[in-house]
Structure formats: structure tokens, C-alpha cells
């Protein structure tokens, strides 16, 4: 079964982009366009990895992240931050920080390293 990646980004173009990149590399994807929705999707889909944007309307990525880490079942899901802002400090134990605009090859490399 292919590994599943949850994409959380409020920009539908970026979501489509990431879905295509991950899909082309054999990963299943699901997506959410806000933190609140993201949390529901995480619970429903139990993804193997989360690709998280930091700046979104409503709750920002870091708040989503804090909620995620409080949930025992979800806290071990690796997170890769994909964002235009420098938020290294905002999410302490993210697997990686990828700055927009990003190189899809590199992103896939990181994903492969993390979940194979």
C-alpha cells in the first residue's frame, strides 16, 4: 500500500502542485486548506507524513502543529514544513523546512528519506 501524505496549504494551486508531485512519485495524498480542516483530515486519514504551510487564514500552521502534538495518536506523524516564511523556530521538531518556492526533487528526496 502506498504511503499517504497530508498536504495542508491554503493556496489551492500549491495543493494541486504538491498532490501532483507526490502522486507522480507513487504516494497517496489527501489535503486540507486550513488548520482546523487539517486536524479533521489527520484524524480521518491517518497520514504517514504531513506537509504543512505556516501562514494560513484562521489558525496558522504552528497552532495546528501544537494541537497535533498534543494528540497521543497523532504526535509521531512526521511533519515537513513547506512555507514562504522563515519559521524554523515555530515548529521545533519538524523533519525539514522547505522554503517556497521549492524544488520538487528535493522535497521528494526529503519525503523518501522520512517515510521511504
Amino acid at each position: 500500500m502506498s504511503k499517504k501524505i497530508l498536504i495542508i496549504d491554503d493556496d489551492p494551486v500549491v495543493v494541486k502542485y504538491l498532490e501532483a508531485v507526490f502522486g507522480d512519485n507513487g504516494y497517496a495524498t489527501c489535503s486540507a486548506t486550513s488548520s482546523m480542516e487539517g486536524l479533521d483530515v489527520v484524524k480521518a486519514e491517518k497520514p504517514d507524513l504531513i506537509c504543512l504551510d505556516l501562514q494560513m487564514p484562521g489558525e496558522w500552521g504552528p497552532r495546528f502543529y501544537r494541537k497535533l502534538r498534543k494528540d497521543k495518536e497523532l504526535k509521531d506523524i512526521p511533519v515537513i514544513v513547506v512555507s514562504g516564511i522563515d519559521g524554523d523556530h515555530a515548529i521545533k521538531d519538524a523533519v525539514a523546512f522547505v522554503k517556497k518556492p521549492f524544488d520538487p526533487e528535493k522535497l521528494i528526496g526529503l519525503v523518501k528519506m522520512t517515510i521511504g
Partner: protein
């Protein structure tokens, strides 16, 4: 190995020959010609091996053997026998001779006998060592065990005592830090006036005196007999306090204050005594150090580049540092609000008051007035000061003068904001462009038409965002001059409505225009005003699209007039805004739209309306939609024209 050997034979020839050969083999040889002499020499020299003839006049070999074995059973005796003495030889073995050799003596046979004797001696020695070791080991282990047991019991007492002391020390202000350094020698004494346990410091400084007498550690006083504090405690059953001198393990003497306390058993008898001695010299040293530390704090207090004051519950200044006193008039009993702000009553939102309330630190930024009348922006931090009971008696207030920073900040803020926000926006746009291109690319390669369309749509979206951003940036970057023209309002409103209507309808949202009659004409810069209105209308659209509540969404665009103003109203029933969003709406680079917003739109709209001498107001509640009201004077005030004509 002991190589002493006693050779006993009545024949001198044998003594001589055998003596020489044994000497050559490395033995210290003693000789005797009869049993009586032999026994005498044996008792003096205690040789480990005795070589004796059996048949001798007087005391014979068997008797000698018995006496030697009786005197020292570890001695090995080899018998020398003649022919036909086999019965005697066997008999000698019964009396524990190690071996016998027959005359004439063959050197090899003798050597074997000697070796056997040596082996037996060695084995016996080893056996004894093992046994003794074992006994020693058992003794050590059991001693240790007993010691551990005792230490556990006593250790608990010491532990309890020192934790109690720590608690007491903790109650004394600042005591805790010093207690850990407090040089106390703690020892426990039993009723036999022997020390049964000591603390590590005691062991380190005075030596491990466990098992020693209680008074040994004290330097003897000349003249009067020194009264051992532990002894006194046992005698009187009361704790003692006395000054004494102890001998340290490195030979020095140290003055101490000794406290003792009795520990009673269940029957109420004094079973143990705890003795705690504090080294006075160390106490003095610590006191000096404390004093120095306090001095350093005072220096710090005075020299830090902050105004520091300590205030009581009435906001009376009870202390202030040098800098504070330099810049502000402070008299005894002066009130903070009087000194800082020249007020007659406490300030609203006073951080000191908050700290008194909740015991937390608070921050505030305030403008204060110095004694020379200068206004300073200060950043205030507060911290509670507690008494030993933990109650807040005072609050310390630290104020950093940030006037210059504020001035600089005002100039830099918009610049910094602009750069970071725009660069973030652009990064997102680039990611979007990459995305569109990727979809388009792979769609073409894999011949997936739907992906090509997706990519193209994405690109179009991003491109329109770029266009908008560039517009916004250009507008912001350059103070655009207003081009006044008389415009028919109805036409203008129609034009605006026509621009946004398709977009709104495309999202399935109802668009209701409600234009008043006879609106007439108005002096505006139609180009930018259109931009401002479209901006707000597009926000309304976004607010409806974002709203996930399943209701039909409507955007109303009303234009009407009153005596002096044209009023545009844009009302949506979208997601609405919370108070914070509403209040920061017109701030530069504020965006609630994440990557999609530039944070410029409403800022610019507000600016445009302002340039027209108009007003924009907002009403909104989360979940209930928003209403923007823009009122423009029908005639642009001359002042507005004048200022706007000045190049920025």
C-alpha cells in the same frame, strides 16, 4: 620460604656429611646430637623441618617427634631409620612424621622427602591464608553490613534533620542559596560517647571519626576540663549550645559553634545525640561574600540602563535607582503616577497593579514625562517582591527608555514590514507558478488533458494575483497624485458593479445592487476610487467563498446619498470578522487571507478614501458577515486637494 632445618643424629659423621649436603641445598642447618638438645634448639630456632634419627640414646626420635608436634604441629618431621626399624618407622608416621628415609641416606630419596615436607608446609600456609582471608572477609562484610544498617538509620535522621534545616533556611530570605554552602559538621553520638555517623563535610574536614570518642575532635583547653557537648546532652537530656575549637584533619584548628540535640527512643530515653557544628570562620567568610554580592546588586541596580523603582500597594515609590532619580523628581512617599506621569490618580492599565493582583510579571508601554518636561516612551516590566510568607508586598518596576527606538521604529517599521511581507507574498506566488508549470509540464508529457487544464487554471490564478500585487506595490511605492474629475455616480457605480458581477456570480453568490435615484455627479478620482471599491467587493466575495456555513450567500452593493455625502455600502453575509481582525483591517500588510492576500488591499482602499476626505467604517461579527460603509463628500474639500497635489 623458611629454610631453617634441624638435623638430629647421634652419629657425628652423619651430622657432618648430611649437614654439608643440606647446606649446599640452601638450608640453614642446625644440628643436635640428642633429643634433649634438639628440643632446646627447636624451641629457640623454630625450624620448619626437622630431620631426626629414630634410634638415639636418651630421648629417642619418636619421643622428639611427639614433643615437636606438640610444641608446633606445623613443623614437618622426617625420620631417619636404619635397617630393620620398619616398625618404628611406621609408628612414627602414626605420630604424624611426614616421611622417613633409610640409612644409608640416598640423596634423591631425601630430596623427595624434603619436597614433600615443603609441599605440606606450603599447602598448610595457603589453607590458613584462605581461611584467614575468609574470616577477614566475613568480618569486613558483616562490619560493612552493620555499618550500612546503622548509616541507614542514622542517615535518615541526618537527612530529616537537614531537610528540616533547609526548610527553615528557605524561610529566611535568600537563605537557601547559602545554606547549601553552610559549613556544618554533623555527627551522631551514642550513649557510650562514640561517634556513629558523620556527614560528608565532617569526614572531609575533620576525618572519619566514626567509632572514635565524642570529644576527640575538640582541641583540649588548657586549664578547665572541656565539657563534651554530647556528654552534656546525654547527662541533661537537653540540647547544648557552646563555642569550641575543633582539630581539623590537616592539623589546623577551627572555631565552631556547637549545637546538640537529643534523639529519644520510644521510652523517652536519650538514645543518640545529634551534634551540629558550624565553622565560624566560614560563616564570617560567607557573610562577607553576601555583603559583596549585595553590593554588586546595588551597583547593578544603580547602573543598569533602566529606570528601576520599587513600589508598594499604594504605588508609593519606596526605592529607586540612580538613573531614575536623575531623570525624575522623587521624594519620599511620592506616587509613581505623580512622578512618572504628573497625574493625580493611578493610571488605567497599570502593570504594577496587575502584578499585585496576580503575582505575574506584566509589560506595558507608556509615555512618561521627565522632570525637565521631556516625554519618553518607556517599556515597562514588572516583577513581584514577596515577603517570607510569600505575600507580595512590593512590585519592582523596570522601565527601559525606548524613545529613540520608537522614533526609529516608526521610520523602519513600514519599510521592514513591506520587505518581509512582499517577499513572502512573492515566494508564495513563485511556488504557485512552479506548481502551474509542473502540472502543465507533466500533463503534456503524460498526455493528461485534465492536468493541463488544472495547470493552466493555476497559472492564470497566480498571474492575476501577481498583477494585483504589482499594482498594489506600485501604488504603495509611489504616492500617486489624484486626478480629479466630475463623475456621474450612477454610471460610476454601474461600472464598478459590472466589473465584479461576473466574478461573484461565477461563485454562485447572489449580487444585489441597490442604487438610489438622482445621485448626481461627484468630484472623485474615478480610477483609484473604482480600485478601492472593487477591492472591498472582492473581499466580500472572499468572505462568502470562505464561509462554509451552508446558506445562500448574498453581496449587496448600495449607493445612496445624504445632504453632503455619497455613501457606498457593501454588505455580505460571509464569514465575518472578529474584533481583532476588524481593528487591524486597514493596517499595512495585514492579511487574513494567508498566502492569497498581500495585506495591501484595504490599506490602499483606506488611503484612497482618506485622500477623498471620506470615511470608511466597518461592522462585522464572526459568522454573520461584514458591512463596509464608505462616505465620500460630494465636494472634495480644498484642503484635501491641496495636500494631495503636493508630491509625496
Amino acid at each position: 620460604m623458611d629454610k631453617k632445618l634441624l638435623l638430629v643424629d647421634d652419629e657425628e659423621g652423619i651430622r657432618k656429611v648430611l649437614g654439608i649436603s643440606l647446606s649446599d641445598s640452601g638450608y640453614t642447618v642446625f644440628t643436635a646430637e640428642n633429643g634433649e638438645d634438639a628440643l632446646k634448639i627447636f624451641l629457640e630456632e623454630t625450624p620448619s623441618i626437622v630431620l631426626t634419627d629414630i634410634k638415639m640414646p636418651g630421648m629417642d626420635g619418636i619421643e622428639l617427634l611427639q614433643k615437636i608436634k606438640h610444641a608446633n604441629p606445623d613443623t614437618e618431621v622426617i625420620m631417619i631409620t636404619g635397617h630393620g626399624d620398619m616398625d618404628l618407622a611406621i609408628k612414627s608416621l602414626k605420630y604424624q612424621a611426614i616421611d622417613f628415609v633409610t640409612k644409608p641416606i640416598n640423596d634423591d630419596v631425601l630430596e623427595i622427602a624434603l619436597n614433600r615436607a615443603h609441599d605440606k608446609i606450603r599447602m598448610r600456609q595457603q589453607l590458613r591464608e584462605y581461611t584467614e582471608n575468609l574470616e577477614e572477609l566475613v568480618r569486613q562484610k558483616s562490619a560493612k553490613l552493620i555499618e550500612v544498617e546503622r548509616q541507614v538509620a542514622v542517615g535518615q535522621a541526618v537527612e530529616g534533620l537537614s531537610s528540616a534545616l533547609r526548610d527553615i533556611a528557605g524561610d529566611l530570605e535568600g537563605g537557601l542559596t547559602y545554606f547549601n554552602e553552610m559549613p556544618c559538621f554533623v555527627s551522631i553520638h551514642n550513649s557510650k560517647l562514640k561517634i556513629v555517623a558523620v556527614n560528608p563535610l565532617y569526614r572531609e574536614r575533620l576525618g572519619d571519626k566514626v567509632g572514635h570518642r565524642s570529644w576527640e575532635v575538640y582541641a583540649a583547653k588548657t586549664g578547665a576540663r572541656f565539657r563534651c557537648p554530647a556528654e552534656q546532652t546525654f547527662k541533661t537530656g537537653k540540647g547544648q549550645r557552646t563555642k569550641a575549637t575543633v582539630k581539623t584533619s590537616d592539623g589546623d584548628k577551627a572555631p565552631v559553634i556547637v549545637h546538640t540535640a537529643p534523639i529519644r527512643n520510644q521510652d523517652g530515653d536519650v538514645e543518640l545525640v545529634v551534634e551540629i557544628s558550624a565553622d565560624i570562620t566560614e560563616v564570617k567568610r560567607l557573610r562577607a561574600e553576601l555583603h559583596r554580592t549585595q553590593q554588586r546588586y546595588q551597583q547593578l541596580f544603580d547602573e543598569v540602563p533602566c529606570y528601576i523603582s520599587v513600589q508598594d500597594r499604594e504605588f508609593r515609590l519606596t526605592d529607586a535607582n540612580r538613573r531614575f532619580k536623575e531623570d525624575f523628581d522623587i521624594e519620599n512617599g511620592a506616587f509613581c503616577y505623580g512622578v512618572y506621569k504628573h497625574r493625580d490618580e493611578p493610571c488605567p492599565n497599570c502593570p504594577v497593579a496587575k502584578t499585585f493582583e496576580d503575582g505575574q510579571s506584566h509589560q506595558a508601554e507608556m509615555v512618561v514625562t521627565s522632570k525637565t518636561g521631556e516625554q519618553y516612551n518607556v517599556l515597562i516590566w514588572t516583577a513581584p517582591l514577596r515577603n517570607t510568607a510569600g505575600e507580595i508586598t512590593h512590585v519592582m518596576e523596570m522601565s527601559t527608555n525606548i524613545t529613540q527606538i520608537r522614533e526609529l521604529q516608526d521610520n523602519l517599521a513600514s519599510l521592514g514590514l513591506k520587505i518581509s511581507s512582499i517577499s513572502h507574498g512573492i515566494k508564495s506566488l513563485l511556488a504557485g507558478l512552479d506548481g502551474g508549470i509542473y502540472l502543465l509540464d507533466t500533463g503534456l508529457k503524460k498526455d493528461k488533458p485534465e492536468r493541463i487544464i488544472e495547470g493552466w487554471e493555476g497559472l492564470k490564478t497566480v498571474l492575476s494575483r501577481i498583477r494585483k500585487m504589482v499594482h498594489d506595490i506600485l501604488f504603495f511605492a509611489k504616492e500617486r497624485e489624484i486626478k480629479w474629475e466630475r463623475v456621474d455616480i450612477l454610471n460610476f457605480a454601474d461600472d464598478v458593479a459590472a466589473t465584479v458581477e461576473p466574478k461573484i456570480k461565477a461563485k454562485g453568490i447572489e449580487f444585489v445592487c441597490n442604487f438610489g435615484t438622482a445621485l448626481g455627479a461627484c468630484e472623485i478620482d474615478a480610477g483609484v476610487m473604482r480600485l478601492a471599491l472593487i477591492n472591498i467587493l472582492e473581499n466580500a466575495l472572499d468572505a462568502c467563498v470562505e464561509d462554509e456555513a451552508s446558506k445562500s450567500h448574498t453581496i449587496a452593493f448600495d449607493v445612496h446619498q445624504n445632504e453632503k455625502q455619497i455613501v457606498f455600502e457593501i454588505i455580505d453575509n460571509g464569514i465575518g470578522m472578529d474584533r481583532e481582525t476588524r481593528e487591524s483591517l486597514f493596517t499595512l500588510f495585514f492579511s487574513s487571507k494567508g498566502n492569497k492576500g498581500t495585506g495591501l488591499g484595504l490599506f490602499i482602499a483606506d488611503k484612497i478614501i482618506d485622500q477623498h476626505g471620506g470615511k470608511i467604517s466597518v461592522e462585522s461579527k464572526p459568522g454573520q458577515g461584514s458591512s463596509f460603509k464608505i462616505a465620500i463628500p460630494k465636494r472634495i474639500p480644498e484642503s484635501a486637494k491641496a495636500t494631495s497635489e503636493k508630491p509625496a
